[in-house]
Amino acid sequence: MRRFDAPKILLALGIVALLAAVACGGEDAATRAASGRVAIALNWKPEPEFGGLYEAQRSDAFTKRGLQVEITGGPGAPVVQMVEAGKVEFGVAAADEVLLARDRGTDIVAVFATYQTNPQGIMVHASRGLRSLPEVFAAGGTLAAEPGVAYLKFFEKHFDLAKMKIVPYGFSIAPFLNDNTMAQQVFVTAEPIAARRQGADPQVFLIAESGFNPYAAVVITTGARARDESRGVADFVAALREGWRGYLDDPTQANAAMGVLNKEMDGETFRLAAEAQKPLIEDAFAKQHGIGAMSLERWTQLGLQLRELGLIDRPAQPDACFVDAGTPAATR
């Protein structure tokens, strides 16, 4: 008899778990909304790539707009899913993730793009004397990269990777430091600085140089929120822009605040990283249209590239991917 009771129990447990998950999903956002708070989920530890956010929180950029911002998430957080499920109002993701999520039938939109130039690159040992990404791939060796990232598909399509052994990146630079023929993915603001401080002589080739340049550290929300609460979203974006202005001018205090939360990164590394990322955030386009502004042209190009790589199943609708939430000079 025991065997016939098992399915009932399993079914009951499954339904309970499902109901609990659904119930929790709605509650979080509702209780926050009542008290005027919003939450943003990050996809990494507090580092200079979120400098403007922490500066906006430290200064009164958020509070003077009546916003109380709770920062959550971290490495490995399923940011897109959290935003979609309403666990958080905002999230930080990459532009390609926005297109993927939309292709999978969710209504995720971008409202602010921190990096105009994607800060990801491939790091090699400078002693190898390589001068470009094609040379890196022709030289062979091991390449550590996150499995499934879009740029890896782009490399496979446009370069000859036959000589490369591609392995998962485990977010440690130890294998790189131990192996002279190793190449790995990096955030130019993170791993190269760490590698240099550990005595290596790294050289970085930006992925953007290969022609694949998705916006990075993109602030996302749901299309419904961008529509129905456009005022709140515009306030959030304006505060963030103000925070970034402050951070680019003087990152000292926000760095100190992040340093308390992220003890693995020392003050000097924070300073160097904040300096290194400046040109990627405030380029000619951002100077003209405002920090974080996005263009239809860039979203269109990315949509076509992801379609070409087979990462999205239907043609993208680039104009639906992002919302110009109060960008000073309209770019659409």
Binding site: P7, G14, A85, V149
Partner: protein, 258 residues
Amino acid sequence: MSAAHRRLLEAVLPPAATFVLTTAAAEFGIRAAGISPLLLPTPSAVVRAALQHASTLLPALAMTAQAVVIGLSMSIAVGLLVAIALSTSRWVERAFYPYAIFFQIVPIVAIAPLLVIWFGYGMRAVVAAAFIVSVFPVIANSLAGLLSVDPALRDLFRLYGASRAATLWKLSLPWALPNVLTGLRIAAGLAVIGAIVGEFVGGGGLGVVVLEAMRQQRTDLVFAAVLHAAALGLALFAAVNATSHFALRRWHSQEKDP
């Protein structure tokens, strides 16, 4: 209907009914609740993903299976030898058994990145991960079996002047066999988990398919890959059960047909 057919039907029908009911409940429940496919895909979407990506999943399954079989074989060999060594004397057991427990409590996820540094990327790191998590149940269960030999039978062997080797081969090991097989059943499932974790850092197999699918927000493919891993664990479990049945049906009551 012959008796054999009836028995087969009785064995297959209950789990099949469970499968159909839970799958149908999941399919309609997820649809009715309007849950996003990004959070929880319907079973039909998972099956579609499995068929659509079969050319990715099947080679990955073969790769993971290879690592699991090698890792599990090493666990059986090493685990049995260690258990035999530990069972030889109380002093040896006291001196080394606490350290064997290390393999059980080692957090494989935490040390997985080290495996890559020790063994390099690829199959060796994956096999090491599968071995580390699966060796302890073999040691612990085999040792328990070897130490539970009926003292009266042990005395009998001594009375007849049997050598230590003969006692081990003819008494202790056969006596411990049910325990050894219990250890193997546990080890088989753990070896699959270990291999997948190993692949997360060392590369290859279903582990990388899971990572890729997560990255590309193909939750249906994540589930399809997980199902393949589960099927692998189930196949190994069935293999151990079959071995158990053939090895023990003449001796042990639990394997005799009812």
